[in-house]
């Protein structure tokens, strides 16, 4: 899974969010390093909805603006869990090796 996809799933993991809400949350989660464009967001949402990782929770129209709120499904939660564990494993190995090098005085 690519980073934007991972961040999008993470953004809707705790509560349903609409398009711009997801974009903002991704920026916060990534510490400002990832700024999603609308095209990236909607291509990913369409793919994740197709795979059953995300579903539409509700829609609302306020002041002529149509917003659709997305939330993580059970399948999405499983997928995000697996991906997070994989990334955490990689990060752990990287940190261990960096520590080994540091302790060795290299």
């Amino acid at each position: 899974m690519q980073e934007p996809g991972f961040l999008i799933l993470t953004a809707v993991a705790d509560e349903p969010r609409h398009g711009y809400g997801i974009m903002k949350e991704v920026e916060i989660i990534s510490g400002g390093n990832v700024k999603l464009r609308a095209g990236t967001l909607y291509a990913a949402l369409e793919r994740f909805v197709g795979k059953g990782f995300i579903e539409v929770e509700r829609e609302e129209v306020v002041d002529g603006r149509h917003r659709r709120f997305y939330r993580l499904t059970e399948d999405g939660r499983t997928e995000l869990n697996a991906e997070a564990a994989r990334l955490a494993g990689n990060a752990r190995v990287a940190l261990q090796r960096l520590n080994t090098i540091a302790e060795g005085g290299v």
Partner: protein, 311 residues
């Protein structure tokens, strides 16, 4: 509407119709939200990103869920289209043979002075194309069978005159056409109405025809190159029409590719082997203009009348 608004609207049209219907407002809202409730001014980067996403979503909608049945259907359509191609090739033989026969009987030499008759070669091709487009399979089949029978006579004549290349080549083409016609008569018919999933149709149709076309119609190199190039361009236009969700235009385009190549082949066949003349260049230009005119006309007809009922 601002230029940005127009650009955004144009890009949203790239989305598949059903997705656009349900998501366009939402996407516009997201863009507006991102600009903190200001007037909608999508930045170039946003527009490019949306265009890329639209093409991805469109591609997925084409190929994801019903991909396997589409492959099977595409193969069936391709085989049927190939048979149509062979049948039209047989129709080409009818008239080239008639013209050859006339030249032999009256002592004309096709390479000198009678090339004006070659235009007649176009008539059965266009007739067969129109007949099949409108579902008149019986008449198209009669035309093709007549072409085959006439071509057998030509083949025998050429073989007895020790022109084995043309003779046996013609017999081989007759055999292929005959097989196709027999299958068509058995009820396995191509319907233009079936060409709703056109990418596979065009793809499967274009490649074998590019390979076999020169063999079937004696397409000589000097005439063949520009004509194949035009055919290739038509394939691209057809694919573009498919991507743009315009199956009618695509069908009109696709059905012209092979008849177009065969027109050139028929002309070259009537002109004999190995001639490189100004007339061929002229004919190629005429062919290109005629193809464009036919394309426009066919699209207009199909748009006005709808596609023939089919499977």
């Amino acid at each position: 509407m601002s230029e940005h608004g127009r650009a955004l609207r144009a890009i949203l049209r790239l989305l598949p119709a059903d997705y656009r219907q349900s998501h366009a407002d939402e996407i516009v809202t997201t863009l507006r939200d991102a600009q903190e409730n200001g007037p909608l001014r999508a930045r170039p980067g946003d527009l490019a990103s949306l265009a890329s996403a639209a093409l991805k979503i469109r591609a997925r909608s084409h190929f994801d869920a019903d991909w396997r049945p589409e492959i099977e259907r595409g193969i069936v359509l391709g085989v049927r289209a190939f048979m149509l191609f062979l049948a039209v090739g047989a129709a080409a033989f009818l008239w080239t043979t008639v013209l050859r026969g006339a030249s032999i009987y009256w002592g004309y030499d096709y390479s000198d002075g009678t090339r004006i008759l070659f235009a007649a070669v176009l008539l059965p091709l266009i007739a067969a194309f129109v007949l099949q487009l409108y579902g008149r399979w019986r008449e198209a089949t009669v035309l093709a069978v007549g072409g085959n029978l006439a071509a057998i006579a030509l083949a025998v004549h050429k073989i007895t005159a020790n022109d084995f290349g043309v003779g046996f080549g013609t017999l081989a083409a007759v055999g292929m056409s005959g097989l196709a016609i027999a299958m068509m008569m058995a009820g396995d018919r191509l319907s233009a109405g079936a060409v709703r999933r056109p990418l596979l149709f065009v793809g499967i149709w274009a490649f074998p025809s590019a390979l076999v076309g020169p063999l079937v119609s004696d397409l000589a190199w000097q005439m063949g190159r520009p004509i194949v190039a035009v055919g290739g361009a038509l394939v691209l236009v057809a694919i573009g029409m498919a991507v743009a969700g315009r199956p009618h235009g695509l069908v009109a385009c696709a059905v012209l590719i092979l008849p177009g190549w065969l027109m050139g082949g028929g002309l070259q066949y009537a002109g004999g082997w190995g001639y490189v003349r100004v007339e061929f260049v002229l004919w190629t230009l005429i062919f290109m203009v005629a193809t464009a005119a036919l394309l426009i006309a066919a699209m207009a007809v199909v748009r006005r009348t709808g596609l023939p009922a089919g499977d």
